[in-house]
């Protein structure tokens, strides 16, 4: 299916603030989703504050984990409507793409796809975690969420 102009990912300028804390972070290496792993049953979960375990697990030894910044596209969809509140943005983002990305840790996570056209959405392609500005607040800060874009490598 065709679509309009691709949503643009964030550049370097401006101060970025996550729309909600403890979901993703960034360092020199790039943007990483914040997951956690149970030391007993090995289950990865996201967000890290919504625990999940195998039945019978002792639930001991939970560690916070930054997921690899890259994964593979496991599914995708193109949305032809504006997401309703509580999604908050300051512009029309339709049509927007949502991808499900499989990380090497064995967990799939959904996110908005940016810097991409629909024809580049192919199952299995490498995707990189980035940030996406939802809106600029009154203090001039960019309020961001996590997003995915086709990996350069």
């Amino acid at each position: 299916m065709g679509g309009g102009a691709a949503l643009e990912g964030d550049g370097k300028e401006g101060k970025k603030v996550p729309a909600l804390p403890d979901l993703f972070t960034w360092n020199e290496d790039g943007v990483h989703l914040m997951s956690a792993r149970c030391g007993s049953c090995g289950t990865y979960f996201f967000p890290m504050y919504h625990e999940q375990h195998k039945p019978g697990c002792s639930r001991e030894g939970i560690e916070k984990v930054l997921l690899h910044k890259e994964g593979r596209l496991a599914s995708y969809t193109i949305q032809y409507y504006m997401p309703p509140p509580p999604f908050k943005t300051d512009r029309d983002i339709t049509p927007y793409m949502i991808g499900l990305v499989e990380f090497p840790e064995g967990i799939q996570i959904a996110g908005i796809v940016v810097d991409c056209t629909p024809d580049r959405l192919k199952m299995g392609v490498g995707m990189e975690t980035v940030t996406f500005t939802l809106y600029r607040d009154q203090e001039g800060q960019d309020i961001v969420t996590w997003a995915f874009r086709p990996a350069k490598s």
Partner: protein, 385 residues
């Protein structure tokens, strides 16, 4: 059983709808209100405190009698949970006559988050961070299926075409227009690969069922419909489905897709001794065309990847191997969360009684109603005559 037809009724309250469904059920069963020994009511989540106490509100209209009233919520399996509770109330020997009722008036537009605390409500996260309405989840699973099983756009359209033919003949349906494959394939793309007519709407509606102990049933009717099993299933660890509300799922499947519905249907088969091969009618939750195809497999009506062929070969038509959604399904009715599972059972009952006119499944003896619910819950009811 009694129904309030499905549609949009902005001038009505949930009590208006529920009252009509209950009044019809009482009159149809020839049972007096005072004979009802317990009320199991689906919680109407958009109705504030009143909606959470829907059973009490409805009881006060007919006259309070002091019987146990319990209100239950299990997302789209809310009605199935009310029904199971009514069934268990009788099976336990505590009562002989029970009322199960479900009512819903859907809000306009998308069904969105009901709290604003992301720490405890995943719904907040999915809306705020990704902008993911329910059909997004269905589209992601549908795309996976297309890659795995080669499902085509025509297969998805064919579901709507078939169901629209039944909906057109069902007086209680909201949508009564018959569609062609071409009309569906040129309808607006909503969440690629799913088009407008391949995703169900949200509706208002109400349904009520009166259950009675088998030992007493013949006091009221010469042709009782028997509940062979009514079950609730929850998800199984390792289910790879990206479940509505969640933002993550395991990459490696260690349990079946839609494991909550697999669980409820397997329980029902085991408890009833009835298997998919014995079932004449199946009301499944066709929230989208993907659901129609996937549920045939999840509930064991065909093997992995065979649903498209079943549909194409006419095996799921009235007169085919198994009549799937002869009511017209959610495709013709739309979702009414608290009411739909009770309504599905009511549709099966009408078929088993031979009351469905032009969309009657001839000689139907066994029927199954299957739900699907957000956050991993599901219900199955198998009925027979």
């Amino acid at each position: 059983m009694g129904l309030h037809s499905w549609g949009k009724f902005p001038q009505k309250t949930f009590v208006d709808l529920g009252k009509e469904a209950i009044a019809k059920a009482l009159s149809e069963a020839r049972i007096e209100w005072k004979e009802i020994e317990t009320i199991c009511s689906g919680i109407y989540i958009w109705g504030g405190n009143a909606g959470h106490l829907s059973g009490q509100y409805l009881a006060s209209v007919f006259g309070e009698t002091g019987v146990p009233i319990v209100n239950v919520y299990n997302a789209c399996a809310t009605g199935a949970s009310a029904l199971r509770l009514a069934y268990l109330s009788i099976a336990s020997g505590q009562v002989d006559v029970a009322l199960a009722v479900g009512v819903d008036l859907s809000p306009e537009g998308f069904l969105t988050a009901k709290s604003d605390n992301p720490r405890q409500d995943r719904d907040v996260l999915r809306w705020r961070m990704v902008g993911m309405p329910n059909p997004t989840y269905w589209a992601l699973e549908c795309r996976k299926r297309m890659l795995k099983h080669g499902t085509t756009e025509e297969d998805l359209a064919r579901v709507k075409v078939l169901l629209s033919q039944y909906g057109a003949q069902n007086p209680n349906a909201r949508y009564k227009k018959v569609y062609t494959v071409e009309e569906v394939l040129t309808s607006k793309m909503v969440c690629d690969p799913l088009r407008l007519y391949e995703v169900c709407a949200t509706s208002d509606g109400a349904a009520a069922l009166i259950l009675c102990a088998a030992s007493k049933a013949r006091q009221y009717t010469s042709k009782p419909v028997t509940i062979a099993a009514t079950t609730i299933g929850s998800a199984i660890y390792g289910d790879p489905t990206l479940r509505i509300s969640a933002l993550s799922a395991p990459a490696k499947a260690e349990a079946p897709l839609l494991s909550e519905s697999y669980s409820s249907s397997q329980q029902a088969y085991r408890l009833s001794g009835i298997g998919p091969e014995d079932i004449d009618i199946l009301e499944l939750p066709d929230n989208s065309s993907w659901h129609y195809l996937q549920y045939l497999e999840t509930c064991g009506f065909c093997g992995d990847g065979e649903a498209e062929r079943m549909l194409k070969d006419g095996e799921t038509k009235i007169g085919g191997r198994i009549a799937v959604c002869p009511s017209g399904g959610f495709s013709s009715f739309g979702e009414a969360i608290g009411a739909q599972a009770v309504w599905q059972v009511a549709e099966v009952i009408m078929q088993l009684r031979g009351q469905c006119g032009p969309r009657q499944v001839e000689g139907a003896k066994v029927g199954m109603a299957q739900t699907y619910g957000l956050m991993g819950n599901s219900g199955t009811t198998i009925l027979k005559v």
